[in-house]
């Protein structure tokens, strides 16, 4: 009875962990029994060893620092540019009509196709990577901010107006706080996109960073190291996203 209750309360955790463990066991087993080419699929134990070697050699810290630096610059720039842009679009109709076509084209088109242009203009290295990641992220920030500003209850705005609120008050006391949850949600999505941008840029051409590690060991057919770098990328992505989610939930609580 007690056990049953314990299970019911933690069903999602227990089943989820079970799923992960089953996956790892199946992966290890398939690799050991050579049902698939072990060179190709590697195995969890080999990945763990590769990860350990990577960390011990000190290269992990270096690669991580490079990628994180690019991520932080790109994401920071996207927030600094995207939020004001979205606010302007939400605040003024003509501005929205003027900026809208560019944002939608950027949103719908595969931004990676611009990569060779960045290489020609900015050269191989951190500048091109940051610009690509920035473009990946900024669209998301802008669209979310715009939707947040536009989505504020018009009744609230009219109420404020009828109490003689100045434009400044209207902006800082109604528009910005009202749009904040959407803005933070946009930042959360944007950090994931920025990370993808960083990885793609490093994958194509760089000599450091997680993406470089991926392409380098992928090309050498050392897939244990390849999976280890993929794993680190996933962890970085989850940590960054969860970090913003914590901020998000704090604001959501404040709002209600």
């Amino acid at each position: 009875m007690q056990l049953n209750l314990l299970y019911r309360r933690n069903e999602s955790v227990i089943l989820g962990t079970l799923g992960l463990v089953a996956f790892l066991v199946a992966w290890e087993g398939v690799s050991r029994l050579e049902w698939f080419d072990p060179v190709l699929i590697s195995s969890p134990s080999l990945v763990a060893v590769a990860l350990k070697n990577w960390a011990v050699s000190g290269a992990l810290a270096r690669d991580l620092a490079t990628s994180l630096l690019e991520l932080v610059i790109a994401f920071g720039a996207a927030a600094v540019v995207g939020v004001p842009l979205g606010v302007i679009m939400g605040w003024s109709r003509p501005a929205e009509y003027a900026i809208d076509p560019f944002i939608w084209v950027l949103y719908a088109s595969p931004t990676v196709s611009l990569w060779p242009l960045f290489i020609i203009w900015l050269g191989i290295g951190i500048k091109s990577i940051v610009v690509l990641a920035f473009l990946f992220a900024v669209v998301q920030v802008t669209i979310n901010t715009f939707a947040g500003v536009r989505g504020i209850d018009p009744l609230l705005i009219r109420c404020a107006r009828s109490f003689n609120a100045s434009r400044k008050d209207l902006f800082f006391k109604f528009t910005l706080p009202g749009a904040l949850p959407m803005i933070i949600a946009g930042l959360r999505l944007a950090v994931g996109r920025a990370l993808i941008g960083v990885i793609i840029g490093e994958l194509f051409s760089s000599n450091a960073g997680l993406g470089f590690h991926i392409s380098y060991y992928g090309a050498k057919l050392r897939f244990a190291d390849f999976f280890a770098s993929l794993l680190v990328v996933v962890v970085v992505g989850i940590l960054a996203t969860q970090g913003i989610r914590i901020i998000e939930s704090r604001f959501a609580r404040w709002k209600t």
């Binding site: 962990t17 003027a98 595969p110 897939f223």
Partner: protein
């Protein structure tokens, strides 16, 4: 009135942008890099279509895209419906799927190239991987949000589990599935371009990489415009379907 305003202000902004771009190089505003000019890009585009080369590559890319995307529909929708309907498999697979979902799928390119071969196989695989998760997740969420009353109605009239799937769950989750398809198309085209840029012998992405390596900025930009238009048209079309569905749904709910 509002629509008209949107059109002429948006159009004006684009015209100004193109005008500035056209003038930037001849007037020497940009000195460090070749940013080309709209007229040169158009000329390059005409040249590319005249030789007919571009159509071959476009055809190859579209073939890869549609095959990968069809696969992601075939896998994503049924699996999404199942995971939305049954709690235990969903809880079982949730962390695993989330882990794969947060992995940048394009980062798997080196593995996919070795596993499925340079070009066609690897690109189809990366399109599939990119598109399948948004479709799967949206389908599952859509199924879960269907009012349970409908399911109980089928049950109380003696309907089988199969009836529930075909009469309630599939039709009921069409709007979120279409949303998933829209997100999936974007990811799929991203995958297609990255896949071909990374390693391929033909296709639009490979051409982009090729012209990029030879510093042919005008041709490069013409190709980028083609790819962007492709993505834009696809996403806009699906958005149209989406809006229509939402509209009709609201009607039936009144």
């Amino acid at each position: 009135m509002k629509k008209q305003q949107r059109l002429w202000i948006g159009g004006l902004a684009i015209v100004i942008f193109l005008g500035l771009w056209e003038a930037a190089m001849p007037l020497g505003w940009v000195k460090v890099a070749d940013i080309s000019r709209p007229t040169l890009v158009v000329k390059a585009f005409v040249e590319l279509t005249r030789t007919g080369d571009i159509f071959h590559h476009l055809f190859v890319s579209l073939k890869e895209f549609f095959l990968g995307f069809a696969l992601s529909l075939v896998v994503g929708v049924p699996l999404g419906v199942l995971l939305g309907r049954y709690r235990t498999p969903f809880l079982f697979l949730d962390p695993l799927l989330m882990a794969i979902y947060t992995t940048p799928r394009v980062a798997m390119m080196p593995l996919l190239v070795v596993a499925f071969g340079v070009g066609f196989g690897a690109t189809v695989a990366v399109v599939f991987l990119g598109a399948v998760f948004p479709i799967l997740v949206n389908t599952a969420v859509g199924v879960r949000e269907i009012d349970r009353v409908w399911i109980r109605a089928v049950e109380s009239f003696g309907g089988t589990e199969w009836n529930i799937f075909t009469k309630v769950l599939l039709p009921g989750s069409v709007p979120p599935i279409v949303t998933g398809i829209r997100l999936g198309v974007g990811r799929g085209i991203l995958g297609m371009v990255v896949g071909e840029m990374y390693a391929a012998t033909e296709g639009i992405g490979q051409q982009i990489a090729l012209y990029g390596n030879s510093f042919a900025v005008s041709e490069l930009m013409a190709l980028i415009v083609v790819v962007s238009l492709l993505g834009f048209v696809f996403v806009s079309l699906i958005r149209l379907v989406e809006d229509r569905l939402r509209y009709r749904r609201m009607e039936t709910e009144v």
